[in-house]
């Protein structure tokens, strides 16, 4: 009994300690951001690696998600004779939920894991320590650019995902099945509100960007400097990013869309 309680206590202390460490790390990144922005090409480079390189997977996944939504949505809507609302269904589910969430999950596994691996390997080969010795802050030189690269690219990728998905839904609904083109767009435009739906989706994806980028750089910086430690850190990045995205999504959705 005492052993179980002791274990519970140590888990709680570890959890709180970890949380505090992440918070302080986040603060440190923000503090060194100005310094790292003076060498903007570092951030641009990371924007290239996490944003541009993720383009293909995001666009292709968005297209397929849109195609599936079009097919499944039509299947259900035509039972009620409401197949004209296909555009509404596709656009709302993408802009509000699927765009930010699925793009965030893909981004965490495509770019977040790469960032963790990179920083972890730098730690293993003691490059971070070497920078410190040369009075170059590794936070400003390595961590902050990767963090901002992720934060900036995430909303853009989510928007591209949603746009591609709407295109996919249009392709299936209008081009293949034959839903009326005018009804598809006009019903969509009548139902999707810019502030309520689109802007809230963008806010969601920006928050996911911060969460994923912070977890990725933190796990890399915090990893045990061995081959095994790096591999574990990468696994943790993907798992905790996915959990964080889904949990934050639920909380934000319940605040943003109460249906009232």
């Amino acid at each position: 009994m005492g052993g179980v309680l002791r274990k519970l206590g140590s888990m709680a202390i570890d959890g709180v300690w970890q949380l505090g460490f992440i918070a302080r790390f986040f603060w440190l990144i923000l503090r060194y951001s100005g310094q790292s922005f003076t060498r903007l090409h570092l951030t641009l480079r990371e924007l290239y690696f996490s944003g541009v390189m993720s383009l293909l997977i995001i666009l292709v996944s968005g297209l397929f998600v849109g195609l599936v939504l079009g097919l499944q949505g039509y299947e259900t809507l035509q039972r009620y004779g409401a197949s004209d609302s296909l555009g509404t269904l596709v656009a709302l589910s993408l802009v509000r939920e699927l765009g930010p969430v699925v793009a965030g999950l893909l981004f965490a596994s495509r770019a977040g894991s790469a960032v963790t691996a990179e920083i972890g390997l730098m730690k293993v080969t003691e490059q971070l320590k070497a920078m410190d010795m040369m009075a170059v802050s590794p936070i400003a030189r390595v961590v902050a650019p990767r963090f901002w690269g992720g934060v900036i690219s995430m909303p853009l990728l989510a928007a591209l995902f949603s746009a591609m998905g709407v295109f996919g839904g249009w392709l299936i609904g209008v081009v293949f099945i034959g839903v009326d083109n005018g009804a598809f767009w006009s019903q969509m435009q009548a139902a999707v509100d810019f502030r309520y739906d689109v802007l809230n989706g963008v806010i969601k994806s920006a928050v996911f960007g911060v969460a994923v980028a912070l977890i990725a750089v933190f796990e890399g910086y915090d990893c045990v400097p061995t081959a095994e430690g790096v591999s574990r850190a990468i696994t943790r990045t993907v798992v905790s990013s996915a959990l964080a995205i889904l949990a934050i999504d639920f909380v934000m959705t319940s605040f943003m869309f109460r249906g009232l």
Binding site: H41, M164, V192
Partner: protein
């Protein structure tokens, strides 16, 4: 990779992202749909609001002129009080009718304003007195059934 090609790709990426956002804003959603300028608030009391919800459209002659902002229960009159905002460009006479209508057979419900002939217009905060409640399908059907039953009854009595 050289600096210029990297810059080019990042530029292409950011431009694509912004284009996607614009597409979502203009083509998928409609900014103009929520473009209510300098709104003012009016309210109306109904015996029954049916399925009217906050954020439902307020239309006059079929044109969107505002949105329902709040629905609350008025415990003094035992009625529903619907508060809605109207675009400042549009003024309505004081004898305007407020109806709860349904778009299509199964569509969402909205607030319809039928302007009257009065010269004075409603000021911000005013309450519309002339209202017509939502049509409740069950009541309509039961009325119809009773009428049918009443029509049928006298025949055997003859």
């Amino acid at each position: 990779m050289s600096r210029t090609t990297l810059d080019l790709w990042v530029g292409v990426f950011v431009a694509m992202g912004i284009a996607a956002l614009l597409f979502l804003a203009l083509k998928v959603g409609s900014i103009s749909g929520s473009d209510i300028q300098s709104p003012y608030t009016l309210s109306a009391r109904f015996d029954n609001i049916g399925g009217l919800k906050a954020r439902a459209p307020v239309k006059s002659a079929g044109v969107l002129v505002g949105r329902v902002s709040e629905i609350r229960y008025d415990n003094e009159h035992f009625q529903a009080e619907v508060v809605f905002t109207v675009d400042g460009r549009y003024k309505f006479p004081t004898d305007t009718f407020a109806n709860i209508l349904t778009s299509g057979l199964l569509g969402e419900q909205y607030l319809g304003l039928d302007p009257g002939g009065e010269e004075k217009t409603l000021a911000p905060g005013d309450v519309i007195k002339k209202t017509q409640s939502a049509v409740v399908l069950e009541k309509l059907i039961s009325q119809f059934m009773f009428n049918k039953a009443a029509e049928g009854e006298p025949a055997p009595a003859k």
